[in-house]
Assembly symmetry: C3
């Protein structure tokens, strides 16, 4: 991940921004919030997954929390959602696309960081997925929704696939900017196919749904 640090930082900040925007817009749609609530939920959505990952691997203070740029773009995302929420709610497709991009990027960088800290392959895949879905899950708990990732759509599975490709590439000694982008692209593609064709992870057998 060291070959293109500037590109990766820009992508990571872009993912943080769109997660904050999307997270706060979703929260405002579901419940009543003041400006503090909108910014808080935007931040939680954007950096919550990375914070859980960093707590579990012992990287404290968490990176996204220490670096003011992440806090700044997350705050900006929450603020814009707060001020323009009604207008933004109409931009469903662009937000879905950007959210999928954030998910893909976080899955790849999350898995890569877990390996850097010496965790095993399975753990790194799980941590990649947690980085991608953890923030939205925390937001859903705070606004009293059952986290969407547990019951709806293809969301965790693309993240697991993207993190899995990342781990395989690192273990195979071929991880670099190209394989990172490829892993993120596969995650993105699976996620968007899921959206396009309304795919879901399998439900319980013969249970009334």
């Amino acid at each position: 991940m060291t070959a293109q640090p500037t590109l990766l930082l820009v992508l990571d900040l872009a993912g943080t921004f769109v997660f904050a925007l999307d997270g706060a817009v979703t929260a405002l749609r579901v419940t009543r919030l003041d400006i503090v609530g909108a910014i808080t939920l935007g931040m939680v959505t954007a950096i919550g997954g990375g914070i859980i990952r960093d707590l579990l691997i012992g990287a404290v203070p968490p990176a996204t929390f220490s670096d003011w740029r992440y806090l700044a773009v997350a705050t900006a995302g929450g603020l814009i959602a707060f001020g323009q929420g009604r207008w933004l709610q109409r931009l469903t497709l662009p937000i879905t696309v950007l959210d999928a991009a954030g998910l893909s990027l976080f899955a790849v960088t999350g898995a890569s960081k877990a390996l850097d800290y010496g965790l095993g392959a399975i753990q790194a895949v799980i941590l990649g997925a947690i980085t991608g879905v953890g923030g939205g899950t925390m937001r859903d708990v705070l606004i009293r929704r059952i986290p969407a990732v547990l019951h709806r759509g293809l969301y965790a599975i693309p993240a697991i696939i993207g993190a899995g490709i990342t781990v395989a590439a690192v273990r195979g000694g071929v991880f670099g900017p190209i394989s990172a982008v490829a892993a993120a692209a596969v995650c993105f593609l699976v996620r968007m196919l899921g959206v396009r064709y309304d795919l879901n992870a399998p439900g319980p057998p013969r249970a009334p749904r």
Copy 2:
């Protein structure tokens, strides 16, 4: 705890498996989940308490997360619950018994580990109880239930008793396989008596219930 490491590992893995199974079955009864949700909630129930304990004592990455065997049995528990949930829901008594066994074991091992990390006696008792009840509490929060431990039945109290006996035995210099099993047995017995006679922790005085 070093006298019978294999026995203890087997018991610990058995506790993890049954907590995952029980946790996912409970979650499937309460809400709609896909396969990702069932496995996630099984894992959260099984290893969530140990993760909270390890974060609080600074043992990162958490042991149950680092060791793939815990992840494997927790995943297996969640998968079986997902596939066989409707049938498993009829096995109320065996699952209650196994759940009580898991609670007892986790309370003892949790308190013992906290003492190993230099925490005080009161803290070790609390951490033993958290190890036992923390995972189920996290699951309940995720599926939007008020955690059962806060208002129903005797669940935290047996865990506190088991953890308390463990701490007393360690401090008295008599902790070993026999006293560990004895502490777990007392916890198990109190829990099962609570189930059998439908005992509850005291409610608020004169409050309408």
Copy 3:
């Protein structure tokens, strides 16, 4: 903060006590709890914010958890709320005042501790606010309420102001008992003005409320 350690300890313990009392009273008002639930929610409210802060700055085991005096006063607060909850619910004003005092104190001590651990100014302000509002937020999640801090009244904003003054004083080299009390007093004043005049943080523009 070393000039008056006894005074500060007394204030900190007083804040912990009142947060536990207030937290358990609030929880008992909203939902049905047994004695374990009341004590647990009192403790969570009182020491939860400090625990989140300490996990994020890497100060484990968390201070309020290691020190039995915090656990003792938190337990006492929860127990008194449990036994006298119906009577205490009538003491609205004294409890609001004490809660504001606890918030003010925790915001100041939380921000100061974050700076001691080498975090930046923005992070310290956020951590001061988290120390003040984190415990109540955790309690609200556990009893299935949307955290009040996200949508109602002036609660996070006074904490942010108090933490901000603290950080400015430390960075300006003038932090001591007097500036600590001044920062807490400003936070307290803003909070009480918000209560008195029923002020709220701004809501979304033109959204139906």
